[in-house]
Subunit: 337 residues, 4 copies
């Protein structure tokens, strides 16, 4: 039987979640909540069979509701998710999971106690290209990772209370941890505001991973050329992911540098350059959000731990929190362990 889902929040992202829960066989769009009556009415037009309310407590009180999707502004995530777990519902939360580490930790603990699925909508972890990249890395094809560069740039949308790191770097934090399978050790952040002066619009975050691997991240709200690029430099090959290049989003460069120790003296190492082919693997075109919603249902149904579970969401919140600390201390390196 289909899992009955209640969605709280019909703003910018909510309708996409609603559409997918409505279209999937495994789920039923059962209840929708928003404070905004007009938004609610619009949803009701398209999905007349769904119940609606302006009071989210109604969803928690409804025994028919199996699962709650919290798609509100981040400030409300903790409070709603907590009550939903307490009410015995499975919970999906829009990213980032919570506004503070303490809140995120409490939700993880609570989900464990309640034996409920707690999942965060890190949509990219369900995207075909990202999973293709994970497989390529896991296969050893690119060798050891040397370093990673990520650029997430676009024009706006400037947000009133959250800086560009919370908006854009959240994606990269989730992606890099996911594809590399590594936990970050520490990070440094710096950020600048140019238009509004008070809320950072451009930021650089350098995240240290084990084995000397570094991920250099650049995010900006001020760039007219939209960019979503991930460069993974390996000892054997380099992989570049460019989301904007629809035809060839992933390219694997069989080019690199080999060192030959010709005398035992490091200063005598011979540097060789390898120049090989460029391969762009075929990537299926499946909507990541569909995969994410489907995975949520499957985890509930089969009592599985989601790929982007509460702990994964907590890790991202820890990184966001660390960027705040670093920004407040002039780029100080903040430990994540």
């Amino acid at each position: 039987m289909a899992i009955k889902v209640g969605v709280i929040g019909c703003g910018y992202w909510g309708p996409n979640i609603i559409r997918n829960f409505s279209e999937l066989d495994a789920t039923q769009l059962y209840y929708v909540c928003d404070l905004n009556k007009a938004a609610l009415d619009k949803i009701s037009m398209s999905y007349p069979s769904a119940k609606i309310t302006q009071n989210y407590q109604d969803l928690l009180a409804d025994d028919q509701v199996d699962a709650i999707a919290v798609i509100t502004p981040v400030d409300y995530h903790y409070q709603i998710a907590k009550k939903a777990l307490q009410a015995g519902k499975h919970v999906l939360i829009e990213k980032p999971m919570a506004g503070s580490v303490a809140e995120a930790e409490e939700l993880v603990q609570l989900a464990d106690q309640q034996s409920k699925v707690l999942m965060v909508d890190h949509t990219f972890e369900y995207a075909q290209p990202i999973n293709a990249i994970k497989k390529i890395i896991d296969s050893g094809e690119i060798g050891d990772i040397y370093y990673i560069r990520a650029e997430w740039l676009n024009l706006g949308l400037l947000q009133p209370d959250v800086n560009v790191i919370w908006d854009l770097a959240t994606h990269i934090f989730s992606i890099v941890s996911y594809v590399s399978g590594m936990n970050p050790i520490s990070l440094k952040a710096n950020a600048d505001a140019y238009v509004r002066k008070d809320i950072p619009e451009v930021a650089h975050v350098n995240v240290a991973y084990p084995n000397g691997i570094t991920a250099y991240m650049t995010v900006s709200w001020l760039e007219p050329k939209k960019t979503r690029r991930l460069t993974i430099i390996g000892s054997q090959k380099t992989l570049i992911y460019d989301l904007i290049n629809v035809e060839e989003p992933i390219k694997i460069y069989d080019k690199g540098i080999d060192l030959t120790d010709i005398s035992g003296d490091i200063h005598q190492l011979r540097v060789n350059y390898r120049y090989g082919d460029v391969l762009s693997p075929n990537i299926k075109n499946i909507e990541p959000l569909r995969e994410m919603c489907s995975h949520f249902a499957a985890c509930i149904d089969q009592d599985k731990i989601p790929v982007s579970d509460g702990r994964s969401g907590l890790n991202v919140v820890r990184m966001l929190d660390a960027t705040e600390q670093s920004l407040n201390n002039n780029g100080l390196e903040i430990s994540l362990e």
Copy 2:
């Protein structure tokens, strides 16, 4: 009458300089020096009318020689340029001008005393696209500069004694100062080595300029996709220079963010997004090195100060020196004033 030029150094870059001084009407390739006999012989085959020697003192002692081009490894720049100036020659030095600030300062002073032209081969300052960018900025078309991003990336060539900053960032230092007309205030650098472990192969340098402008620079020797990109975000427009895009190297995006103060309260500022055309101005195809060599001759002939004069070269050496200090102090901000 043509200026008689002596070129010291026929290695990687020397032959390009030699070809241009040979082809220009305003100059005569009069003397060529290199320690390597084979390299010298090869030059002699192509330019049989040029005198050759393995001893650079011969050029300094020859009264016929008007000007000396020092195209040797950086370690020899100071010593040779100093003697050349003392011998009353005009001097062109390959970038970077010298291995230390003190050396560069001494050369500037000496050139002033000798009333000789001292010029540094910051080739990009003579490139058509860079000069087009300078004009666009000077015209006010892009408005106030908010920030600049620059990426200079390629696979190798790993150098035995110089890190990637000295190799690649030198270009960006010279370009950014030139097109913006600004002097840097301070910088921070961090760098990592992955292949050889001892000499940095990837680096990030953040340079602070007046009015809160920052230039974020990334350089790497480990990237198979060659990149030479400069992004200049202005209050009105954004300019992106992509040297690898031969057809449209410069693009001006008439897109940006406007703030409207609707109430006197900064938190009530209304954010508007402008979406306009993209313009790629026509750029003439002239070899920058030809322009550079020609400018050197014109400065000698007309007793002018070169665009990339000794002071300009000194500024770049100061920045390189500051990156060393910053790297040795875990990314500390180093003043340049």
Copy 3:
């Protein structure tokens, strides 16, 4: 009051039409028909307020229905559209309008007699980039058109009973006539089949327009790199439309050739090349189908002649018919006047 629309055909394209008529304020999705019960049920799930039937006569008999959209295979267009017009309905037909010139002519005549709106879904005529191109041509910016090249290439979808010209060239026929404002004089076609041997998969059509203007068209079902490109060479500038380039779909090259008559002798004409900027005008992102459906409603409401009216649809059918004649006569030039 909203126009009540009945849609006949829920196959590949129908759901897009249905969605738009459902979402627009000016129209109401009132009735949907398809022979396939499963397809009909799926529509009913999403649009529970719409009536459904497997018999299209039901729509024609329903007095509430103001307008009929015929989104069936081309073989049924004529029959259904004829009955709908006779029943006093306004009619929108999927492209191409009909399977023969005679049928298309009869529909045009009938719509005139009935004083009903007859419109063909030449979607591209409602696309923002195509309308931008029309404005640019009309403004005289590119000068006189010399010639036009169009390439519409992709992998499949091979169709069982229609060749690649009917599938892909239909779009180009409509676009070129629309943006140029010209009527074709004659055409030649040749075509080849490689995979299935019997139904052409690759074709070239050369269409002659007044003033010596030619449009050279290439269409193929066998090319893995999807291409939608229109090159319009003018006496002053050249415009290239590349639908696949989402960021810069239109580029205007201010480059060309000028002739200067320096002696009155044509063989003494001096050829000058102009090299100027490349401009990519900003194009708004509006769904063309939305515009098309909205225009259909406006024409009904205000008793206007649609941009892609029956005559425009007839002209495209005439061109398709002429390609058949040309193919059957080894590429013979077929008059369209």
Copy 4:
């Protein structure tokens, strides 16, 4: 011992040939001829050891000269090459080999009689990407060739006495025959003039090859976006060569259409689409002209038949001649057998 080469013609292309013969070890630039004294003097400045003359008969009379390169306008090819062969010289001729089939045939015959190397400068046949393409086709990787499309487009240079086919299609004729290893059966051509009205500036040539293979060729002098593109559609894969894409000039698309005969009835064939990777093979960067000149020397030295020998040059002249016949007969199909 180095082969002593005499070059006749120092215009647009000559200096490139001269440079290569001068730089190669296997050849010696021995003699240079041009009617234009200024051009000759300029060559003499750069290559002072080469003899010069304004009378090409001097080269033929000089016993030291082993080989002659005829780099003049096409009208002089036959006359000079004939005399050179008669004088016992090996001959390299700039493309196209001659102005008529009869002349080309006579030169082939004469070279046979004299047992001298006769080679045509079809430079592309010595380019790394073209040879990579030939190897890929020969390996069977792309399966059977279905058809080929070629576009050679640019702005000018309008020539006074030769049409765009002689200028640009010559390259494609040589390339397609070379990479496919096939001889053309027939061709059709049509062409138009827009700027000068008398000499065709845009042309389409369809060349029929064995096994139903067709090569569709488009050439133009009126297009501001320079294009050099070859699309080879095979039963297994498709190869696209784009000379302007310096980073990835060749792409092999593992995408295509499979037919499965499910019932013995051709109308019941099931169409399957394969979507696979895109591979861009690594191509070494070697100057094609260097390879060509080197190959000429090797053929002389080892008494080998050149890749682009006289017969190959004759075939191209036959195709050019056939385009003239076709143009004069309104696109009539002209046999090449």
